[in-house]
């Protein structure tokens, strides 16, 4: 997971707040009958699967919208299936902080067929992470909020 520059962290959201996440996959070429979806495991270990739709304005670009918990660690993978839901290709597993956009480029190859498919049993961290290391297991107290916002 990349380092987190606080300049690019939304100050109006607390870690764990639900935010809309725009998933974008670039440079993918699908044949007739094929579909691509995102398989994502969130900080609670829950598997979310969502199909991506072709973006009209940009060829080879597919997108979807998810709601994720801000700044929590997520693992995700892109999967191409045929019309019978047989998995044809799987991307590598990415690890990122949940924010407003997840954008990846993926050109499927034969090597990708050997990669495992991510699921809720995959070894992922069960605790959310935040830039300050503060882990949201309960609602924040007033003291914590005041310390966070510098009052």
């Amino acid at each position: 997971m990349t380092k987190n520059n606080p300049l690019f962290v939304d100050s109006t959201k607390l870690p764990g707040d639900l935010v809309p996440c725009h998933v974008e996959l670039l440079k993918v070429c699908l044949r007739d009958g094929e579909s691509v979806s995102i398989h994502l495991v969130n900080h609670e270990g829950r598997l979310i699967q969502k199909p991506l739709q072709a973006q009209e304005m940009e060829e080879g670009c597919y997108e979807a919208r998810l709601h994720l918990n801000h700044q929590t660690q997520v693992y995700y993978q892109f999967v191409i299936e045929d019309e019978n839901n047989n998995i044809l290709f799987k991307s590598q597993v990415y690890c990122e902080r949940a924010q407003y956009a997840l954008t990846e480029q993926w050109e499927p190859s034969e090597e990708d067929q050997k990669l495992p498919v991510i699921d809720s049993n995959s070894p992922v961290s069960t605790k959310p992470t935040s830039p300050s290391g503060w882990q949201r297991e309960r609602p924040p107290s007033y003291r914590e909020l005041m310390e966070k916002w510098g009052f």
């Binding site: 520059n5 300049l7 690019f8 962290v9 939304d10 100050s11 935010v19 956009a101 997840l102 510098g150």
Partner: protein
């Protein structure tokens, strides 16, 4: 034309010169233009107003000590409205570190005056900080001036990475209007740079290049736009043509 930031995270690429002269050219074409100086070095402010002191600047607006309408100053020589900067901007990151919505302050402050202008140009600091983020979130798109040399590619890479980070971290999509070639001398080098920019980044490069011309520096010393100080100079003609190309 909406709010546009002139930005490059590499210094010395004529950001301020471009912002000043494009703004002045648009004004000469009848547009109502506001130039916001967001650089703590106040280069744009000094180029227009020399050593004039301002009681209130963009700093006061950002920290909530002044209304934006009260800090706008008109320049007769440039025929534009200006929001001046000051050195206090250098401490703004620390001052606003814990501020709720710190990255959207300028965007919100511009809302009351947005529609009064045909164009709002923001002259950004080369360093990446909270004010640069504010400028980007307030902008519909950006213009990237570059000098045709090796490090200019690094400047483009940095700003594109910043835009990606803003998209994913803050949820704002900011476009790149195009790249302006400044301080050019050698046509062959420029052609190589243009090719690289188009191939690597798929960005538009404006056809009107700004030559490395002494008239530009002289105009700064006289606190005039180059199209007034030396209207027949190559730089003045280039900025005039560039401003039309940018508007279109």
């Amino acid at each position: 034309m909406a709010v546009v930031s002139i930005i490059n995270q590499k210094g010395g690429v004529a950001k301020t010169t471009t912002a000043l002269n494009v703004a002045a050219s648009w004004a000469e074409q009848g547009k109502k233009v506001l130039l916001i100086d967001l650089d703590p070095q106040s280069s744009a402010t000094k180029a227009i107003f020399s050593d004039r002191e301002f009681e209130k600047t963009i700093f006061d607006v950002v920290i909530g000590q002044a209304d934006i309408q009260d800090v706008i100053v008109h320049s007769e020589e440039f025929n534009i409205d200006v929001i001046p900067a000051e050195i206090m901007l250098s401490g703004i990151d620390m001052q606003l570190a814990a501020h709720f919505g710190r990255e959207q302050i300028l965007r919100k402050k511009l809302e009351p005056i947005h529609r009064k202008y045909d164009a709002i140009l923001i002259d950004c600091s080369p360093s990446l900080g909270l004010m640069t983020i504010n400028a980007l979130l307030a902008s519909k798109d950006i213009i990237i001036p570059i000098c045709p040399e090796y490090f200019s590619m690094k400047g483009i890479e940095l700003i594109l990475a910043t835009l990606r980070n803003i998209r994913s971290g803050l949820g704002y999509k900011i476009g790149v209007r195009g790249v302006v070639i400044t301080r050019f001398r050698d046509r062959r080098v420029v052609n190589e740079v243009i090719q690289q920019v188009k191939e690597r980044y798929d960005l538009k490069v404006y056809r009107n290049f700004i030559p490395d011309n002494i008239a530009v520096e002289e105009a700064h010393h006289h606190h005039l736009p180059v199209l007034k100080h030396a209207p027949r100079s190559r730089a003045a003609k280039a900025y005039k043509q560039l401003s039309k190309e940018l508007w279109g």
